[in-house]
């Protein structure tokens, strides 16, 4: 008997608990009116979700009070907008009132006659958003990639959406279902054969100059350059492995890239291209002194040697970036370069398979101030 009593109590506890949960469950309702006809979610802004729902209001002649409330969901009350669709010229929204201490508002709507009015209610809903991820597969020779774009909808808003039309952009809406606490990943677009260019970049400001002295192997950042539109999102890159599968090459975060602009996606590091840089010589000249014999200004003549080795079985093009701050002039620089700005030299070096090349940079840094104006030895923007 005690056991039965115990289970009875337990049963009622569960009923009460379930009742509480149901009572707490999210609701967005328009009092005394049919529920929403159609609902859309716009994720163009990804972080902020705009929900738009269509409802049919049965309006009586005169002023109608329409109660819109939202419990256990986070709606920005100042974002709520009601637009009349059927009779926008005759229906007037007179005022909006927010009752104290409630997640609700009341519209006063005037109608000249009894009628049914289709309206759109729009609002910004929190705790639901979209994020974008990409999956790219390059061909075995790394000339093109196939790109899949996925939208991930994360719904923690407290609201269940049944058949919601979802817009990531204005072009291709799709209908989906998303419940509270649910996450859903949807393939939204596929592009094939996008040309890519593989890039190796060695920047003297960022990379160690003597990789052989480094305790771990030094890799040169390697990336794919491509022209295609991206939203900000994680891109996972794979390559056809010629064995019927793929190899994961690495991942990077794409930034927003408009159509026609260029993106760089880093895949990983190349450890088969080795760059070593040494300063071979430093000489000073044109030393000027003040009356106290203190040095005021001088020139420096520098010799740097950069050795590049391609240990791969295939040719590569290496972008080598050197920075010379201040006022400078070349004396003898053994390879062609382009100036990215006054201090940044970019060398595009083609290295055949197993080839080793040496770049000798002989240049003069002019008018180096020692004292009062030494801050002008570097050029500010």
């Amino acid at each position: 008997m005690a056991a039965i009593k115990y289970y009875k109590s337990f049963f009622w506890c569960i009923i009460i608990l379930l009742g509480s949960i149901i009572a707490l469950h999210a609701r967005t309702s328009l009092v005394s009116l049919p529920s929403r006809q159609d609902v859309a979610m716009r994720l163009e802004n990804l972080k902020t979700t705009l929900v738009q729902e269509k409802r049919i209001l049965t309006l009586k002649k005169g002023i109608n009070k329409i109660d819109f409330s939202w419990q256990n969901v986070m709606i920005d009350p100042e974002s709520i907008l009601l637009q009349t669709l059927s009779n926008p010229k005759t229906i007037s929204i007179l005022s909006v009132s927010y009752p104290p201490g409630e997640a609700a508002l009341v519209w006063d709507i005037h109608s000249p006659v009894d009628l049914e009015e289709e309206v759109i209610i729009s609002y910004l809903l929190a705790n639901i958003d979209g994020i974008v991820t990409y999956q790219a597969v390059s061909d075995p020779v790394e000339q093109t990639i196939d790109l899949k774009s996925f939208l991930i909808i994360r719904n923690f808003s407290g609201e269940n959406f049944d058949k919601i039309t979802t817009y990531l952009d204005n072009k291709s809406p799709f209908i989906t279902t998303i419940s509270h606490l649910e996450t859903k990943r949807i393939l939204v677009s596929q592009k094939q054969n996008i040309p890519i260019q593989k890039k190796y970049t060695w920047d003297a400001l960022k990379m160690p100059h003597e990789p052989e002295k480094s305790k771990t192997a030094v890799g040169i950042p390697t990336s794919y350059e491509l022209k295609t539109a991206f939203l900000k999102g994680k891109v996972r890159l794979f390559q056809d492995d010629r064995q019927g599968g793929t190899l994961f090459l690495g991942e990077d975060m794409s930034q927003f890239t408009p159509k026609g602009d260029t993106s760089n996606l880093r895949i990983g590091d190349s450890r088969d291209i080795v760059v070593t840089q040494h300063r071979i010589d430093t000489k000073r000249s044109n030393i000027k002194r003040n009356t106290k014999n203190n040095i005021q200004v001088y020139d420096e003549i520098l010799k740097d040697q950069i050795i590049m080795e391609n240990l791969k079985d295939a040719p590569v093009t290496l972008s080598l970036i050197e920075t010379i701050p201040g006022q400078w002039e070349p004396v003898d620089i053994s390879m062609d370069y382009t100036l990215k700005d006054h201090k940044t030299l970019v060398f595009k070096v083609r290295l055949l398979a197993k080839e080793k090349k040496t770049l000798d940079m002989h240049y003069r840094v002019l008018n180096i101030f020692t004292q009062k104006f030494s801050r002008y030895n570097r050029v500010s923007n």
Binding site: T177, T183, K184, R185, A217, D241, F248, L249, E251, G268
Partner: protein, 453 residues
């Protein structure tokens, strides 16, 4: 007690039930599928393994639900991908849902134009499986060559058993934004929007692993009945910036177990022994380095060698007696590049640098009569002694405190090298049990002397 981990269940359902994915009442269970084959691609620089799981599924016409669950594993749910290997024009993977209230579960909606039986491939990332390489080098009696064996060791702590899996190992450094172990541990696969508001275990693992290995025995027995057993070969292939090692056949590595495989064996690798003295790096010690080059002439050179620990032994006699020489950790060694092993300090080679003469010259004064600069002149004698009983290469490197210097009166000008603006090096070959001295004069310009042109 852990429960079984990865499950794949295929449901067929009428479309009208779709809005209530989590409440899967009235769903007909069509098939409970097993793996056809599985491939693991294990990365050693990131705690990441790409698993490719092949199965054959029966789809009914209309909407199908495929539930994939992975409790007690370290799978990254954001990496889950499903691909049809046939009939991909008739079957559409609509979406994947991570239902509320159910951790480690994903449900794919798959729309089929007709009933069909299709091979599919499910891929995902998991953490917890790792591999490393290591080497054993056995120096010959004359220490001019060594035999080198490379091993790979795979450890599975992923929570999942991978039976008879094709195993591939990746050498290289990929760019990765998030740790897979972190992604696997998240309560919600993609997170959530910013809110506005013991020993017995080991025994169990051991028993479980033994069962898995026993289960794999019949296949191994069949293979061994057909041919004499031999170590598995490892195929090597370059892809993008990485090298892919594919282990011959399949491997069963139960969760909690480690397996070691021979990666390569090179019998005669030419070794150079170099004794280095560089006070800035090694203090006042002579350090022994052994070098070898990753080339075809050394029976290596087909692929880069992944970084790993290398233990060096010395063969003392022909009866197999060995002495441990030392160990070091090598970096990744590209093809045709030299591996340099630091085998520690040695007393068999002595390098004693001495300043035999010292002078201050060309002293200059400023307007007030104070010393403003001078030349510091040091005459060095570096005494080298080789007690190794073998010809040895000795490298003496000196890092200078200024780039304003000159060297004169060199005894070994042909062995001299200025490696950069403030580093000099002498490389000398010494015959067994011999001595030599290097002499040179170093003049360093101090103070205002540095500015005199």
């Amino acid at each position: 007690m852990r429960k079984k981990t990865i499950y794949l269940i295929l449901f067929a359902m009428v479309i009208s039930l779709l809005p209530v994915l989590p409440a899967v009442a009235k769903i007909d269970l069509v098939t409970l599928t097993d793996r056809e084959s599985v491939q693991t691609t294990i990365y050693n620089k990131a705690d990441l393994t790409l698993v490719r799981d092949k199965r054959v599924l029966n789809f009914v016409k209309g909407m199908n639900l495929l539930q994939f669950s992975w409790a007690n594993t370290k799978i990254d749910p954001t990496s889950l991908s499903l691909e049809m290997k046939k009939e991909s024009d008739k079957i559409d993977v609509v979406d994947i849902t991570y239902p509320p209230g159910a951790k480690d579960v994903g449900i794919w909606r798959i729309k089929a134009d007709q009933a069909c039986r299709v091979p599919v491939e499910i891929t995902y990332f998991t953490s917890g499986i790792s591999w490393k390489s290591y080497y054993i080098a056995l120096l010959s009696e004359d220490q001019k060559t060594c035999s080198l064996k490379g091993y790979v060791k795979v450890t599975n702590l992923s929570g999942e058993d991978y039976n008879n899996a094709q195993t591939r190992l990746v050498v290289g450094k990929i760019n990765i934004l998030d740790k897979i172990s972190h992604l696997a541990s998240l309560q919600y696969p993609y997170g959530r929007p910013e809110h506005i508001s013991a020993e017995s275990d080991l025994r169990n693992i051991y028993k479980k692993g033994m069962r898995k290995l026993d289960a794999a025995q019949p296949m191994m027995a069949m293979e061994s009945a057909m041919a004499a057993p031999k170590p598995k070969a490892i195929q090597k292939q370059g892809l993008s910036e990485y090298f892919l090692y594919t282990i011959e056949g399949t491997e069963t590595i139960p969760n909690g177990w480690t397996k070691r495989l021979l990666s390569f064996k090179a019998d005669t690798v030419k070794v150079n022994n170099i004794y280095k003295y560089e006070a800035d790096r090694f203090g006042e010690n002579v350090v022994r380095f052994s070098t070898f080059t990753n080339t075809l002439e050394n029976n290596l050179g087909e692929t880069p060698l992944p970084g790993g620990e290398i233990k060096v032994f010395h063969s003392i006699d022909k009866n197999g007696k060995l002495a441990f020489v030392g160990s070091d950790t090598t970096k990744y060694i590209p093809v045709e590049k030299k591996a340099e092993l630091n085998l520690g300090n040695t007393s068999n080679v002595k390098i004693i640098p001495k300043v035999m003469a010292y002078a201050k010259k060309n002293i200059i004064f400023d307007n007030k009569g104070n010393v403003s600069g001078f030349d510091e002149v040091k005459t060095y004698e570096i005494q080298l002694s080789n007690f190794t009983g073998m010809s040895s290469t000795i490298e003496y490197t000196k890092n200078l405190d200024s780039s304003h210097f000159n060297i004169s009166a060199m005894s070994h000008p042909d062995e001299f090298e200025k490696t950069d603006q403030d580093t000099i090096k002498f490389t000398i070959h010494l015959s067994p049990n011999s001595h030599q001295s290097i002499g040179f004069t170093l003049t360093t310009l101090r103070g205002e002397r540095r500015w005199q042109q």
